[in-house]
Symmetry: C2
Subunit: 256 residues, 2 copies
């Protein structure tokens, strides 16, 4: 809980400078929050850390801010991407909000064979990401990429980035995990065995991945298929659970 | 994804018996799902495992099922409770749904000084829990208890149950964790140091716990104050993240 409103802004930031805010943000500050000349806010732009600021002009369409001291230095988020198959509107919104809170660096909607919805409003999701970043005290806003098809994305996968594939469907053979045939390794075990480095988590649609997609994913050297316990998780639950475990074991929840 | 509908029912279950279902469930089966005589379902009651069943009569107000083979034996869920301060309606619903998916044994709404909503519809949340249990392939439905005030609940806390307290507000001193003065230990570290045994996770309201509540909690021998990383998490995110970490490190996500 923080009393001082916190805003993501576009301009460069430096102590003593004045910046202008217009459009929806100006409306929000002056009409919704009812802030006025002399009121304090905090601003960040994803490049120059966070600054204290004071409102010097509170118009309906333009708000001017005088920047005070830098309150936090810019720091990089952990290099973790979330790839997820779009769900129904509310659940997609939820995944984006939670991904921002859980510190992902990029959000990539992925279209799979059984994707529940192909109607991805990237601009709207981007605005949701900004709001979530403001609330969660992040210093950056992770971009929400245009939706891409799974196979082309795998074909141009960046060297050195591990893709953690939540294989919810699992393998019902009851065999110990390992290789193409076995059950997926528990996520916690996989994270513990993994080296630090760039990573991505892939969450499928409600209907799961197709057999062909699972085979393809498991054949790729940069993919680690993992399991998330004995119960069936909804896609958004799998996303939040996986991101939290990654941050706790490989990310910035670790003690410094 | 499972093609065969799965229902939580009240009667005792044994192979070869016939049971009757009425009310909303009968309506759901015969009118919403449009199932008819001869169609297959699965049933569980939280006591006798899961059974295959065949519809022998599909009326609007009563559906009769003939029970076939037992498909799964009853197994206990991990002994983990979730205590959470009720949030706005949608977010409370979300917490209950996710707690069921993440395998908690009991759900306890707790009223704190800054609780956002005291209007807890336990009956409605109980129905949500049933639906979530049906979907997530659980063999039991965790009860949703009546809302209780925090201090009386702490006063009669059961012996031997660790209370993991997500101290989101943390301690901004920057000191290493430990004791009353320091920062909360990262949840992952705390879970790793903990013995196996009954546990509960306590998540506060959006406004956080009051200073008095935090001091009281930290003074109790069965409480472990834990931190959830450098960003501010919404209450429902903290709940899902904590439950997932507990299951991964102390619960039934571990390899058997």
């Amino acid at each position: 809980m923080s009393a001082t409103p916190r805003l993501h802004v576009a301009p460069d930031l430096a102590a003593g400078e004045t910046i202008s805010i217009d459009g929806d943000q100006a409306h929000y500050l002056s009409r919704v929050m009812r802030l006025d000349t002399g009121d304090a806010v905090r601003v960040f732009n994803g490049r120059h850390g966070e600054f204290a600021a004071t409102i010097t002009e509170a118009g309906k369409s333009t708000v001017r801010l005088m920047l005070g001291e830098q309150t936090r230095q810019q720091a990089a988020a952990p290099d973790l991407w979330l790839l997820f198959a779009p769900l129904k509107k509310d659940r997609t919104d939820f995944v984006v909000e939670k991904a921002v809170e859980l510190g992902v660096a990029e959000i990539l909607p992925v279209l799979t064979e059984r994707t529940n919805s192909e109607n991805v409003r990237v601009d709207r999701l981007g605005r949701l990401a900004v709001e979530a970043a403001e609330q969660t005290e992040r210093l950056d806003v992770p971009p929400v990429r245009e939706a891409q098809k799974l196979y082309p994305l795998l074909d141009k996968w960046p060297v050195g980035r591990t893709l953690i594939f939540a294989d919810e469907a699992g393998d019902e053979t009851g065999r110990p995990w390992g290789g193409d045939a076995g059950r997926a390794m528990p996520l916690e075990t996989a994270l513990r065995e993994m080296a630090d480095g760039p990573a991505a988590i892939l969450i499928g649609p409600e209907g799961g991945f197709s057999g062909a997609e699972r085979t393809r994913l498991r054949s790729l050297p940069f993919v680690r298929a993992v399991g998330l316990g004995p119960r069936i998780l909804r896609a958004e639950t799998a996303a939040v659970a996986s991101l939290a475990l990654w941050q706790a074991i490989r990310g910035d929840w670790r003690p410094v």
